[in-house]
């Protein structure tokens, strides 16, 4: 029997970039193929070709051994190819049923929508594949894991046989990931096939049958999951040996630098997103805040850095209270901030690299004398930072927008680390970066810690939190539910807390042997 899906020699180039270079790939019926690669390896381009969003320059697509041309998503669906996007394409104010039938609405008696029919079919699908979803629930009320199940049902409702899941675990708690894997197993048991796109090695080994590794637009390896190991995959993915462990000494925490007591914050829509958070960060330690995205971490960081007002509570930095402080007040007290969204907050993309390097200090000597900018000094110091922090850029004159994500992040890190700081607030410092940059940024953060800087690390990537932190706090629905030393952390206990289970219950539910302290890199 031919493979259900086969790509042969797919090549796609964009001006200046060869995104896909004669890629071969095949998916067998009832199997899970993991497509592994770093950001920018060409995974997304390949899937967009498969989904008909791009036209390949060369190459053939075969479905069930028959050559096809795919002109767009509708074409792809007609051939039984369905895609679950990383960012869900759901409408929060509609029910699961309404979302599922969007675009393929069945009509009753000529003019009426036949919702009942859809709901019935959803229940059937739910039952068949173990996809627990209430057809009448509003999407906005559902947790992320359930929203993802709705997305999967959407694809199954359209009779897809091949499901493409793009980074499906990025937004899930460890428990939800387990749930997703269960669903995937039941899908293949029913003869569906799955392409699972990811950069996380552990998941690949846990779920995939076959693994295709992409690097720089090329297939660099095709392996069976049972023959693979994390180290081997990492080496293939990155192209060199990778240091899987963050080397760090035991922390030697000193005085309290950041103290937060009973902090409440409202977001732009006036929802209370941080409700009574309390914690302390000491000089020379990393406090990691774990939690699923959207539990108030963003607003917490905004409030601490002056980007959003505090509602109530007390925050003090280096012993001095912070209240109604502007971002500049806070910056000038020795706070560095690696923002969550580097393109929105961290950089002025249209400005040259050298101007971005002085974004927070441009008004100070030696970068300005009175109101006059000292261009020469700025450019010289930027040149030094570029070298020191290994920013790959043709020159300091090019706009920051032309740099790759990793190098943009390095510009921010260089800027924030180059001034004297007491507190570093790093919000998802390695989001979307390649392994090399992640390694680099992690070691710089630990270096800062060892110099005696207090570090507050916020990240939804549990691996990153465990790898870097000395103490770990878990944030759920705007509250810090527990703080524990990283040395004796238990993954499943953390996962349960992130999912909203109370600490006392979580302690019972989590396996007691759990001194699982494998410190690993995040991929």
């Amino acid at each position: 029997m031919p493979p259900v899906l086969e790509l042969r020699g797919i090549t796609k180039s964009f001006p200046g970039v060869l995104a896909n270079d004669s890629i071969d790939l095949s998916v067998e019926k009832g199997k899970i193929l993991a497509l592994l690669g770093e950001n920018g390896a060409g995974k997304t381009t390949l899937m967009n070709i498969l989904y008909g969003l791009y036209k390949p320059d060369k190459g053939r697509i075969l479905v069930n051994g028959e050559e096809v041309t795919i002109h767009g998503p509708n074409d792809a669906i007609a051939r039984g190819i369905g895609m679950v996007h990383q960012h869900f394409m759901l409408i929060p104010v509609m029910t699961a049923t309404e979302n599922v039938m969007l675009g393929v609405e069945p009509i009753r008696n000529g003019i009426f929508l036949d919702k009942a029919k859809v709901a019935k079919r959803i229940r059937e699908i739910s039952k068949q594949y173990d996809l627990d979803v209430d057809p009448n629930a509003y999407i906005g009320d559902l947790p992320v894991g359930a929203q993802q199940r709705v997305e999967i049902i959407k694809v199954l409702y359209r009779e897809a046989d091949i499901l493409i899941l793009d980074e499906p675990t990025a937004v899930l708690t460890p428990q939800e990931v387990e749930g997703l894997f269960k669903v995937l197993r039941s899908l293949i048991a029913h003869g569906k096939s799955v392409i699972f796109i990811t950069h996380k090695l552990k998941e690949v080994l846990a779920i995939a049958d076959h693994i295709t590794v992409l690097r720089s637009g090329r297939v660099v390896g095709v392996v069976e999951a049972k023959d693979a190991s994390q180290e081997k995959l990492a080496t293939m993915m990155v192209g060199r040996d990778v240091n899987l462990v963050v080397k760090k000494k035991l922390a030697s925490p000193k005085e309290v630098v950041l103290s937060v007591k009973n902090l409440h914050v409202r977001d732009e829509r006036q929802n209370i997103t941080v409700s009574g958070a309390s914690f302390e960060v000491h000089a020379g330690e990393v406090l990691g805040i774990a939690g699923v995205q959207g539990n108030g971490q963003t607003e917490l960081v905004y409030a601490l850095t002056g980007l959003a007002p505090m509602m109530s509570g007390e925050v003090s930095i280096a012993g001095r209270p912070v209240r109604h402080s502007t971002p500049r007040n806070i910056l000038e007290r020795g706070v560095a901030h690696i923002p969550e969204d580097r393109q929105r907050h961290g950089l002025i993309l249209s400005f040259p690299v050298h101007d971005n390097m002085v974004l927070c200090t441009y008004y100070k000597r030696p970068y300005a004398k009175g109101p006059v900018l000292q261009q020469k000094v700025i450019i010289e110091s930027a040149g030094k930072l570029v070298e020191q922090f290994d920013v790959r850029t043709p020159s300091v004159y090019v706009p920051a927008s032309t740099l790759s994500g990793g190098n943009q992040q390095k510009v921010i890190v260089a800027r924030e680390f180059s001034r004297p700081i007491k507190l570093l607030i790093a919000s998802q410092p390695t989001r979307g970066l390649d392994v090399g940059s992640i390694e680099y940024i992690h070691s710089r953060i630990i270096e800062k810690r060892d110099e005696g800087t207090a570090v507050l690390l916020v990240s939804p990537e549990l691996d990153e939190i465990i790898a870097l932190s000395d103490r770990i706090a878990v944030m759920y629905k705007g509250q810090i539910v527990d703080i524990m030393p990283a040395a004796k952390v238990n993954r499943s206990y953390l996962g349960l807390l992130m999912a909203g289970v109370k600490p006392s219950e979580a302690l019972e539910a989590a396996p007691a042997n759990g001194k699982e302290t494998e410190v690993e890199r995040v991929f």
């Binding site: 001006p15 200046g16 970039v17 270079d21 004669s22 690097r215 720089s216 090329r218 660099v220 390896g221 080496t235 990155v238 192209g239 060199r240 040996d241 850095t305 980007l307 502007t326 971002p327 500049r328 910056l331 000038e332 901030h337 923002p339 929105r344 907050h345 961290g346 950089l347 002025i348 993309l349 249209s350 400005f351 101007d355 974004l359 927070c360 441009y362 008004y363 300005a368 109101p371 006059v372 900018l373 261009q375 790959r392 043709p394 020159s395 004159y397 090019v398 706009p399 927008s401 032309t402 790759s404 190098n407």
Partner: protein, 427 residues
Amino acid sequence: MNTKSLPTNPETASQQQPQAPAKQPKRGSKLLQTILIPVLAVLTGFIIGAIVIALSNDAVIAAYRNFFHAPWAAVAATWNAIAQAYGALFYGSFGSITEIYHGLQSYIATGDSKAILKAIYPFAESLTAVTPYILAGLAVAVGFKCGLFNIGAEGQFGIGALCSAFVGYSLHGLPWYIHLPLALLAGAAGGALWGAIPGYLKGLTGAHEVVNTIMMNYISFLLSDWLLNGPMKARGFRPLTPVIDNSAMLPRFFPDPIRLNWGFILALVVAVAVYWFLFKTTVGFEIRAVGANPDGARYAGMNIVKNFVIAMTLSGALAGLAGATQVLGVDHWVGQGFSAGYGFDSIAIALLGQSHPLGVVLAAFLWGTLRSGATNMQLAAGVPIEIISIIQGLVIVFVAAPAVIRWIYRIRAIRTETTVLTRGWGK
């Protein structure tokens, strides 16, 4: 390159993985990209203008009726019509080099300046027309640099003109070196006030500057109507201010009727100053940062509200100064409908000049010369003045929609950040 084989040695593998090989445009090509679109937009505007000229010419139409008998006559007629119109336009804008040469000769030989003055009249008048366009164009450009769309240059221009006229005619007996700067300052201050109000409203309440500057325009129009018919009206029937004192006038370079004056030099100096301010000072840095990415600017500790107010105040001051130079250098009094679209044209100039001071000067030059040559085109070639408006309109359409120009000339877009001219509501 070993495209197929799997890298067995991680060392070599890492070497053959270059970090995004120089796909960035170089500095020079970025400059080319910046000026390419405006230049092609102007060129295309003239080409389409030529087609309109040909189509609206009776002789050309008649020649085409007879196309199959005399095809070359039709082509020749087309060519003649276009050449005549654009020739007259050029002559109206720049004069003729031979006339200037002969004029200069006779001046040197006989000391008679009549011929040379007549010869340079067109060009001098063009420069006179360019002056307010430079200043008002800079005004709008400064707003754009901060992400603000100052549609109020028209009103700020009018208020600036009234303020400088008031100082010009109401104070007497001052030496010129006090009276003239005072009148100029008054114009700038009036415009600054008119710009600062929408700036404050934007900063404090988020009220959109487009709406508020339009409202300020209406206030300015009606206020000046009232002032010109009441408190500021000179004796007589017409709604005009009195003529300003000699001591407040911007000195002219040549005797009447050439009106070219020191205002032109002032405008050039101001353009250099604005460039310096925007690109070499910390305040200019902040304004540009706020314009390019307000979230990033806030993160970096910049005060958004402060920068909105500074940018709008400066913008208004420049537009007010434009009005002042027009009163003090050219007209010497203010009448109804004085601003005459200078403020609105300046939006086009800032767009065409890509909000860069040098670009603004060049765009203002184009606008001023077109306007001043148009009269001669109508007189000498019988082509209606409106053709100029058509050309200008087309140029703006093409500058505002660069995709059209890219499509016409098959230019591939380089992926650079597009400049943000203005932002949406609220936030």
